[in-house]
Symmetry: C2
Amino acid sequence: MVKPCRVVIVGAGFGGLQTAQSLANSGADVLLIDSNNYHTFVPLLYQVATGQIAPEQIAYPARTILRRASNINFLMAEVEEIDFSAQIVKTDNHAIAYNFLVIATGSRTQYLGVPGALDYTLGMRTLEEAITLRNHIFSCLEKATQESDPTKRQELLTFAIVGGGATGVEIAGAVVEILRGRVRRDYPTLDLREVRVILIQSGDRLLADLPKKLGVYTYNRLRKLGVEVYLEAKVSKVNLRSIYIDNHQEIATATTIWTAGLEANSPTEDISTGKKGKLLVNSTLQSSEYANVYAIGDVAYVDNDKPLSGVAPEALQMGVAVARNIKRQLRGQLPQPFNYFNKGRLAIIGCYSGVGKIGGFAFTGFLPWLMWLGVHLVYLPGYRSRVVILLTWIHGYLLGDRAVRLILSSKETNITNYRTSKTR
Amino acid sequence: MVKPCRVVIVGAGFGGLQTAQSLANSGADVLLIDSNNYHTFVPLLYQVATGQIAPEQIAYPARTILRRASNINFLMAEVEEIDFSAQIVKTDNHAIAYNFLVIATGSRTQYLGVPGALDYTLGMRTLEEAITLRNHIFSCLEKATQESDPTKRQELLTFAIVGGGATGVEIAGAVVEILRGRVRRDYPTLDLREVRVILIQSGDRLLADLPKKLGVYTYNRLRKLGVEVYLEAKVSKVNLRSIYIDNHQEIATATTIWTAGLEANSPTEDISTGKKGKLLVNSTLQSSEYANVYAIGDVAYVDNDKPLSGVAPEALQMGVAVARNIKRQLRGQLPQPFNYFNKGRLAIIGCYSGVGKIGGFAFTGFLPWLMWLGVHLVYLPGYRSRVVILLTWIHGYLLGDRAVRLILSSKETNITNYRTSKTR
């Protein structure tokens, strides 16, 4: 082992956090930087947005996760610039020298050039966006109880979701279930049969990166739950009170949730990029230009013939691989190529049903739903969160109740206020 | 029972909610109005502010509490005006006619004319203020880890609390314990002996409305925990980076928590008031001017020789009494005077110690601490919240851990941003 060496990791998502944890007690001096002081367990954001669980249950303070390892420090800051030749990361207050740099800043929403999408849609990528969405959904219900004009009430009770990937499917299933579920008892004066949930997918099937059979099952299942699913449909414009599909069909809605596009959330423009602004790395996850710079997770574009699908297990495995490669470099060995071991994919479609693909097997129904809950419970950081979420799920799924219907913060729920909470 | 009659209750705090619940299935048509869609369990706000429990655990959706009674409806709205002669409550969108009106809008912070107090102190009266305070405290710690100038770091690590009542004592005890407790392990680069917690009380003892012995015990106990307690000291000015005591002593601090004064949070100026803008009611809790208007809780001033102390049990008992009186009026009977049955008072001073007064007995130490936890657990609405908070307390008090150290919302923690979250 050479003398202590500074590894700077930017981003405390699945990849960055895993890299830090895998470098625990490695002898390297590790600094993890994030603009939030917590790690967000992103797969459960949709449950926060729909009031099923509290935000605190899926956000875990980064310092608490890291405190067991004395060689890892945390800095809450926004990285503004990286000087790769001087090997310095610049934040608003600091200039931090590094020997090795791991960029793990994830992705952000891309609005695909759709007019109005940035200003008038709600996102689902950060904890703050999920809380904003929860406030918005329950504000729409409150306003609907007070609205005597049927057209305006229908607008408040229509929820459009753009994007038919896992996030879109999960939020569509959850929204329709909440409003057809026991929440009805809270709104006796409201006819919740008026509620419309609309899922808009540009491709010809849902969950496009899973086997076709699963997309078809998901489509049928969502339809049965009451979701209107549009396939091969493109949103062409969004404004405060409606969306336009394929330039002609207008749907009046007070709520459009955008889950469609993403691009790299890169802190630098000074190294080579692949598709969607992602940082180009070779098979060892090293930048093609700098052997001491790694990029992992959603911000990375691995230059080989196996495209990544942007799921948490990839980022986690990349974090382990990068930590191993840095340790190899410290010992004077060559880094090794990263190989993703695909344990499978799972997605949940409302209560009691899901889809999954494990190895060559694609399966649907109750089993993948149960596996989804189990897997997410196991991967959740912090055993207390696990206990609380397990209790909440048991209560919610068995008794059909939803717990966290609070409308916090801005009392004036004007959609244009939400813009400040967006990532871009 | 006469024909259905409309009772409008303004405010979903302890008093208003209890009135509504006591009117369940009474035959009256009850409408509860609040600007939030949830009831806040105020006595535990300080635990939210210090990151011990999640906000969602002490806020319960008003509709969920009320849904068992089909004669009670809820309206989320801000009451802007009351026309007592026309018997109409006006919100931003509605004009609601009433036969009986119960005003239960509580209190709000009064800054006692201290320059800068409104702009530069943080409050503890609402859930949003408690979350803002949590964000602020943990932001100060994050900034302190990045501050190399010892003067500026000391400013970030100094926490001043104005007001030596139960709220001030509880928050002072909690802040000092968190920063001397296991949170230290999260900030290995910070010397937390630099932390100062300062409690400023204008009177000659703490907890002035409890027996003197308890105030003395609390004083000694807080000092032992490391709190600097100033008695007979008045804050004369507050600015962004310091407070002034008695016009001369300046204390540099990035955090001033204001728990000192309160006044009625009245939605009307059209009926008679007593001290602090409170609505004057006679012993039956009826307005002296209108026999069909009641005021209860912190917004009410009962015109007799027993002053109220503004605690939750008073508001709850007043809610029961008002519901009974309205039912009597509906039956053509006369309302009866309200008598407060004082079950006792409890306050908590950090871990394992508290003070209490029950009947003629004043006692201190572990027993009132345990009773405080038990009583608050029992009164908390919703059995799930009880289970989760019990688990959190067991974990927190036995293992010394604090769970919810998230810094949410505004990443730029500039104290002037907080102003928008204030009640006035």
